[in-house]
């Protein structure tokens, strides 16, 4: 009699314990799955015969909850909770639910409480993008294509023509060694040279004893004919 009473008490205790175990196991699941699997498991529990079979089933549900919670697969399953019937949970929602509420009490995940943990996922994403960009840019920075380019030769500008304009002490003007008879002839020479491009250099070399007035007239004539490149040469003789 006492044995039967003990067995009956044990069976009733198991009948109370098994649903509690299932509810506890369901609370470990992500928020989108806990309601569905809790109802499903409780329903399947009723199909079991009372006793140890129910206890085994409940313990197995605990193991299943840990398997599902730690499953790397982003499950894409349709959930039908008690409050809302139908509606799929996408892989994204499930993955987010997994990262936020896996193996946590259901209330903490579903009641909208503030999660104090820093969401490092976007930080890691940015870090990986920067790392990949750096890795891809390193070969570009160190890689150089060696080309045998032709060396540019410095352009040697043709030396402008130089015209020696000597003025002797007696006032005779020599245009490249040829005596100039008068200033009109010299004016014609200077105009002809002024029209050339580039203009030739006029090397003016008056003798030390030449009168300043003659030299001044030659310079004035050159300026009037727009001679731009004119200069005195051999000025060392004037020191004495």
């Amino acid at each position: 009699m006492n044995r039967l009473t003990t067995l009956a008490g044990l069976r009733s205790w198991v009948d109370v314990l098994a649903p509690r175990l299932i509810r506890c196991a369901a609370s470990w699941l992500p928020a989108g799955l806990c309601d569905r699997l809790e109802e499903e498991w409780l329903s399947d529990l009723c199909a079991r015969s009372a006793g140890s079979s129910r206890l085994q089933f409940a313990i197995g549900c605990c193991w299943a909850a840990m398997q599902i919670g730690g499953d790397d697969l982003a499950l894409n399953v349709a959930t039908c909770g008690r409050a809302t019937v139908g509606g799929p949970v996408t892989a994204h929602v499930y993955a987010r639910a997994r990262t936020s509420s896996t193996l946590r009490p259901k209330a903490a995940a579903s009641n909208g409480s503030v999660v104090c943990d820093i969401n490092t996922t976007p930080l890691i994403d940015v870090m990986l993008v920067l790392l990949v960009t750096l890795i891809m840019s390193l070969p570009l920075m160190t890689h150089a294509v060696k080309l045998d380019l032709p060396q540019a030769q410095p352009l040697s500008a043709p030396a402008p023509d130089a015209i020696s304009l000597d003025i002797e002490s007696d006032g005779t003007v020599l245009w490249d060694g040829t005596p100039v008879t008068n200033l009109e002839q010299l004016d014609g020479y200077l105009r002809a040279e002024a029209r050339k491009t580039p203009q030739p250099e006029i090397h003016l070399r008056p003798e030390p004893r030449t009168r300043y007035g003659v030299v001044a007239r030659v310079l004035a004539l050159a300026q009037h004919d727009r001679i731009q490149r004119i200069g005195f040469v051999g000025t060392g003789v004037y020191k004495d």
């Binding site: 499903e40 329903s43 197995g60 193991w63 982003a74 499950l75 894409n76 399953v77 349709a78």
Partner: protein, 103 residues
């Protein structure tokens, strides 16, 4: 639904679950029914059912009954999808000795 027909790792337990459904491919089975046919413990059975459903091999729905009149809670019923049936048949067809689970 956007379900992806992903590759499912074929374990012996997964084959047993598929075999339970292939006895009558159009039949909807609850977890308890699959347990009776495959003799798999609940800790193994339900993760496999969820993985197969996630992979698009199964679809599931709640049983449309009135729990008060039926005297029991509604059950979650699983059914092979056409693609799941094709994939399962392909898997079992790869065995030379028929549909049976390899020993």
């Amino acid at each position: 639904m956007g379900r992806a027909d992903r590759t499912v790792r074929m374990s012996l337990q997964t084959l047993r679950v598929l075999e339970a459904f292939l006895e009558n491919p159009g039949e909807e089975l609850s977890g308890a029914d699959v347990h009776k046919r495959s003799a798999l413990p609940s800790g193994t059975l339900y993760p496999i059912l969820l993985r197969l459903e996630s992979a698009g091999w199964f679809v599931s729905r709640w049983e449309s009954i009135n729990p008060v009149t039926a005297g029991r809670p509604r059950r979650r019923l699983y059914r092979l999808t056409p693609s799941g049936l094709a994939r399962a048949s392909e898997v079992f067809g790869s065995f030379t000795f028929g549909r049976g689970v390899p020993a």
